[in-house]
């Protein structure tokens, strides 16, 4: 199995190599990068390209490692016991399988996405060490051990909100998706809008990269925002000339709301434009 990028996802050679290393050696792959650079998309595309099912586990601040394995619903069992339900005699009726268990029992390759692992408690990654390493865990309630017949491909994303423990990092491959340069960005846009007018694209990219250069921006516009913006430009049928004004710094680009998501950034930007106009 090799991942070579897909029709709808542009992967740089270093990213492809990292994914292939993770596939070949069956180790988890940890992906970091600016928000909106396609970390979560990667797992979907890998699963799609390899033709295997994708199991997603989105992490929240309250998520516990155990929930990825299984949960024992003791409360409904207690209730059922009072009602005299027959079900109650078999404890396995009350065990709810988590994402990892589902993947382990597939019997064929699959992709597990552990999304935004940094959202969880500090102990979370440590609690999963053994499970991800050996791809097996023990179910205490039924005294059975669940083992993956075929090791799934594990892709973990992080937004760097918390540091991950060393022991966890050592077991992973790591890749940092850096923000695409102009050329890669052109290819990404091509993939999403194949029929986009060349001159509109060129003007839009200039505006976009200039906007990213504005100092002090709280949230720089990212790839996904550029794609949204282009979609709007095409839908509104904005001519390329509207983007190409001689003094680009003095005009707020049309539909800028798609690029700037933060009120303070919009204010900052408008103030800069205003100042540039005064200095003319």
């Amino acid at each position: 199995m090799r991942f070579e990028g897909t029709d709808s996802y542009v992967a740089t050679p270093d990213l492809m190599l990292a994914v292939n290393a993770a596939i070949t050696l069956q180790r988890p792959l940890l992906i970091k990068g600016e928000p909106g650079t396609g970390k979560t998309m990667l797992a979907e595309e890998v699963a799609g390209a390899l033709g295997v099912p994708l199991l997603q586990w989105h992490i929240k601040s309250t998520t516990k490692a155990q929930q990825g394995l299984y949960e024992y619903d003791a409360v409904s069992r207690l209730r059922d016991s009072q009602l005299g339900d027959e079900k109650v005699k078999d404890i396995s009726n009350y065990i709810v399988k988590g994402v990892l268990w589902q993947a382990f029992e597939q019997g064929k390759p699959s992709v597990i996405l552990i999304d935004e692992v940094d959202k969880a408690d500090i102990e979370f990654p440590n609690d999963l060490l053994r499970e991800l390493d050996r791809m097996e865990f023990h179910v205490y309630e039924t005294r059975e051990t669940v083992r993956a017949a075929v090791r799934p491909i594990v892709i973990i994303t992080s937004n760097n909100e918390k540091e991950l423990p060393d022991a966890f990092l050592r077991r992973c491959f790591f890749h940092y998706i850096k923000f695409p340069d102009k050329e890669t960005m052109g290819r990404i846009v091509d993939v999403h809008f194949p029929k986009l007018k060349q001159n509109l694209l060129r003007e839009a990219m200039e505006v976009f990269f200039e906007l990213r250069e504005v100092p002090g921006m709280k949230k720089k516009p990212s790839t996904s925002e550029l794609l949204d913006w282009l979609k709007l430009l095409v839908a509104e049928d904005i001519p390329p000339e509207a983007l190409r004004s001689k003094d680009r710094k003095t005009v707020v680009p049309p539909l800028a709301g798609a690029l700037l998501k933060n009120e303070q950034d919009v204010h900052l930007f408008e103030r800069l434009v205003f100042m540039a106009r005064q200095n003319r």
Binding site: N20, A21, S81, E163
Partner: protein
């Protein structure tokens, strides 16, 4: 194979482990990468480097090893500053120091004006012109018993009377991970578990008692799960005499940041006055009045102040004593106010404990803090954490 490469990375202070190295070899054996150096570079990076902040270091080390040159071009840019700092500094013998006459203040200012007029071009070394190094009373990085400092970093001697620059302070880098493990363990003493939040755990004892009371009819009791509840405010002294302790402070900061869920940190310089800041690059633009901080974080916060407490006693006792601006109220007043707001507070001092008795300002702060000052060593940290937990 490649063991030298691995050791080379290690010697460049990259946190690589044997396990990761074996993974790399395994990947090579499985022919994940083709034979090109580019592919090998990507593969080595994805196997060995687990943090993007180390990418730069890895690039330099990789280039050095595989090009067989002494240094990669990017590294050169760092050297001039290092040069300024180290090479140009004249190491004067005590006799030479004594020989330098002590000019009076008025004469110093007069001389300074004269030199400014005379000086046309950059100058380094020597003993008359403004520049770096040397023993002229002007410029920075040199030694003269009563000198004026212009720009740059003060030399190890710290005799400059007035700071003539708007210093750029380095933000504490919390990526230092080596050696922080011990500190983390020490900080764990501060953990305090409490049940709070959603009730999602079965309280077995409570359920049994409740059910028995109910004459066998099930009465389920739930309770919230235990969480680490400790809240910490960290105040860090930065710049000036703290430069010598940057490494140990970085380690402490790095450990604290990953150990506590509720951690807020602020920076100050020498002594705490009416405002503190969070980002050293924007410290003059983005300030937090200490009153606001005191109102925002309640008394359940534990306060840890890290500083060498080494300054002129005026900076603590006198209104307007701050080296940076004119403060209306004395540092001691503010420190006392802090202690009134947060009774559980300690001061960690990176200076060796044996020096404490010789510095007046340390003695002063120790008195204000009711002798809750501890050295910034593992033992000191543990005692401090125990004190905070009382």
């Amino acid at each position: 194979m490649l063991i030298d490469f691995f050791l080379h990375l290690k010697s460049k202070k990259l946190p690589v482990s044997t396990r990761e190295f074996l993974t790399l070899l395994e990947a090579l054996k499985e022919r994940v990468a083709s034979n090109s150096i580019d592919d090998f570079y990507f593969l080595a990076r994805t196997c060995l480097v687990k943090d993007e902040t180390h990418y730069d270091k890895f690039d330099q080390a990789f280039g050095e090893y595989f090009k067989g040159v002494q240094q990669v071009p990017g590294l050169d840019a760092d050297i001039p500053e290092e040069w300024l700092k180290m090479m140009m500094k004249k190491h004067l013998t005590p006799e030479e120091k004594a020989k330098l006459e002590k000019l009076g203040w008025d004469k110093l200012m007069e001389e300074f004006k004269k030199r400014l007029e005379e000086q046309k071009e950059r100058h380094a070394g020597g003993s008359k012109w403004i520049g770096t190094g040397g023993s002229s009373p002007f410029g920075h990085g040199g030694y003269h018993p009563e000198g004026i400092r212009i720009g740059g970093k003060s030399a190890g001697n710290r005799t400059a009377i007035k700071v003539w620059e708007n210093r750029e302070y380095r933000n504490l880098d919390d990526t230092v991970e080596l050696g922080t493990r011990n500190i983390k363990i020490a900080l764990r003493r501060l953990r305090r578990f409490a049940r709070e939040g959603a009730e999602d755990e079965l309280d077995l004892d409570g359920t049994i008692t409740g059910t028995a009371r109910n004459a066998g009819w099930l009465d389920i009791k739930m309770r919230p799960e235990r969480h680490n509840k400790v809240k910490v405010l960290l105040f860090l002294d930065i710049g000036g005499s703290m430069d010598d302790h940057i490494k140990v402070c970085e380690e402490l900061f790095s450990a604290a940041k990953s150990e506590f869920k509720h951690l807020e940190y602020f920076y100050f310089h020498n002594c705490i006055y009416d405002y503190v800041w969070k980002d050293n690059r924007r410290r003059h633009g983005e300030r937090f009045p200490l009153w606001d901080v005191m109102h925002k974080y309640g008394e359940d916060y534990k306060v840890v102040v890290v500083g060498d407490a080494t300054m002129s006693p005026y900076e603590i006792l006198q209104p307007g004593g701050s080296v940076e601006y004119s403060n209306e109220e004395a540092g001691a007043t503010w420190l006392q106010r802090m202690l009134d707001t947060w009774p559980r507070a300690v001061w960690l001092n990176p200076e060796p404990e044996r020096l404490w008795d010789y510095r007046h300002s340390i003695e002063l702060i120790r008195t204000i803090f009711n002798s809750r000052m501890y050295p910034l060593t593992l033992a000191g940290l543990e005692t401090a954490m125990r004190q905070l937990n009382k």
